[in-house]
């Protein structure tokens, strides 16, 4: 097929890949982390601040946007990029995952899923065709096929049936996706924790043919070991010359382990959501800034971080803001966490370039284990 985006791998270190994803709206260095811009905003961040952390692509949520302000309204206003003032590439999900996790009265058939909005109870339907239409209206640079994220635990038969439904939906998504050449569509590998079903899913998707391939259905409570086992058997089966995207993952150690297994792209609400609740990610592990131990601590959260939270303020101040439920607390810690995630990806890219992935992992684990006891 004609590729709507370009992807090239520039270096390998073991299974880890250092690449570049070229889109009409700019190049994304991989491995890449995509901040989540749920409802047309990366929560508590100006778009230029998102850019300042080093992010080159953001994610938009079809489910949230189809409910409010609606895809039609965003299209009328010139598309999602203009609407949210983000001129870099945007990847949109299909809406399927959040219909399953947020909407009410869901009913899945082969045709699609009907549900009621969690906002106002409006009855809605999402089909592969409708999801493609919405993502086109939004103007996504990378769209995702509609899939069913198989709820676990499930019997192998249930996982197989669900994966095959996703394959049929992927085919309909591809057919419905009639797009100018500068937009891409990714397939999503399902199959739960079953190696043979994952393999079958990859095969089916590759036969349909996509611009990139995501791994779905993980980070839903199965644990890191199980997730890594799935990656170990799945990633090697995926086309080596196309981007691999692990959806909804994850913690810093999850990202590192997935990169080591050949994944190129990630998204997760963890850095932004944690930032709003006082959880910070640091080189020395997670910090709950609301803890009393930070109340009079004049030190920055991380003296090697260049974000405004670390550059201009003390832990004591961040503690005060979060204990007082001040919006600035959410703003600063969100910024810090996104900076941390981008710095982590930059470190991984550098490590792969230099063939030092093993050292990177070792140093990461050492520092995280050392914890926040030593002055930083």
């Amino acid at each position: 097929m004609t590729r709507s985006i370009g992807f090239s791998v520039q270096a390998n270190d073991g299974a880890a890949r250092r690449g570049a994803l070229v889109t009409a709206r700019g190049t994304v260095q991989t491995p890449a982390f995509m901040p989540v811009g749920t409802a047309g905003t990366v929560k508590a961040m100006l778009p230029q601040s998102v850019r300042a952390t080093g992010a080159e692509i953001v994610l938009g949520n079809t489910y949230h946007l189809m409910l409010r302000p609606t895809a039609e309204r965003i299209a009328k206003l010139g598309g999602l990029h203009k609407f949210m003032h983000w001129d870099g590439p945007i990847l949109t999900d299909s809406g399927g995952f959040q219909v399953m996790s947020l909407a009410k009265l869901r009913k899945i058939t082969d045709h699609g899923v009907t549900f009621k909005s969690h906002l106002d109870g409006t009855a809605l339907e999402l089909t592969p065709e409708r999801s493609m239409k919405i993502q086109t209206l939004l103007g996504a640079d990378i769209a995702m096929v509609l899939d069913e994220c198989t709820p676990l635990p499930a019997t192998k038969d249930e996982v197989a049936r669900s994966m095959q439904l996703s394959l049929r939906w992927a085919e309909r998504s591809k057919y419905a996706f009639r797009e100018p050449k500068d937009r891409a569509l990714f397939g999503i590998v399902q199959g739960g924790l079953e190696p043979d079903l994952r393999a079958e899913s990859v095969d089916g998707l590759v036969q349909i043919g996509f611009d990139g391939y995501a791994i779905g259905g993980l980070s839903v409570g199965e644990g890191q070991d199980a997730m890594f086992r799935v990656l170990d058997v799945t990633a090697p089966l995926m086309p080596a010359d196309q981007p691999r995207y692990l959806m909804g993952v994850g913690k810093p150690a999850d990202l590192i382990g997935a990169v080591a297994r050949g994944v190129d792209m990630f998204d997760c609400v963890l850095p932004t959501r944690s930032g709003r609740t006082g959880q910070a990610f640091t080189r020395r592990g997670p910090v709950n800034i609301k803890n009393a131990c930070h109340r009079e601590d004049p030190r920055p959260l991380d003296d090697q971080c260049k974000c405004p939270a670390c550059r201009d303020f003390s832990r004591a101040y961040l503690n005060h803001l979060h204990r007082s439920n001040e919006i600035l607390g959410a703003m600063l810690l969100t910024w810090h966490n996104l900076q941390y995630y981008q710095d982590l990806m930059e470190g991984l890219r550098f490590a792969i370039d230099e063939g030092k992935m093993a050292e990177f992992v070792k140093e990461f684990e050492f520092k995280q284990a050392a914890g926040d006891i030593n002055p930083i």
Copy 2:
């Protein structure tokens, strides 16, 4: 007395004054609007963003800060400027007003006021001496005497007794305020809506001697006409060579009327609080951005405003953010409103410099009356 700050009037237009307030941390062009940094943060704004709007001084609330994180803790961390990363001048209020409006189980005696914290019920006391101590610990460039904001309506006797209590507290505040020369203390004129009591208050305060004089007890529901009548009789009695500060005021038209009557400084939560609830101030009057009419409006809120909300986004987007309770909505509209207030003050300063105060008022009223009907 030796002045701890410098103040000079550079131009007059009628009663309106164009001046400069020189502090150790920088010069404030007057008439000036001070954004309110309640609990050590101008809500939803980074300090550099506050600065970017043109603000040269911010206000801190003694009541909020004494409760959390406490003045002692802020002092230990190097003072309020360092704590909140604001290197310009800071004016702190005395805590008196908010004790009366927020705290529980208040009891006022000649000694001071006892109350319980609205946060956790802790029993606390605020006296003139304690207020001076707290404002010193915070490191305020301009401190305010402790006063009683007389609750209206009240009989003339009640207003007189309250005003005289405030005078005694002002004297004790002055005595307790033993500060290095680079910090200033302002007295506060009380006396309700009674011209003779306002005059008596000014006299008493001037005899004690302060670096500047505030007008308190207004904008508490008395209406703009009553407020302007008080200013008409009070401002001319206040020392012409010292700054005049109208506390807690107000709407754009209030500021303009007060400047026309000789006021130099203002503070108010209106622009920040309104920004969080979807109320925007514009050249053509107030706009409720949540109104359905903005849902598909691609125009900026105000195409002549240089704030990020107006520069980068549509009314439709701001409408979406506020209807979705997104933090970015509060961030953008707060920024816009503070920019509007600073631009308004800049316009007033220019008008006084040019001797065009009357034209300024006329144009302001015309545009506000024209409303938001015409495309802007």
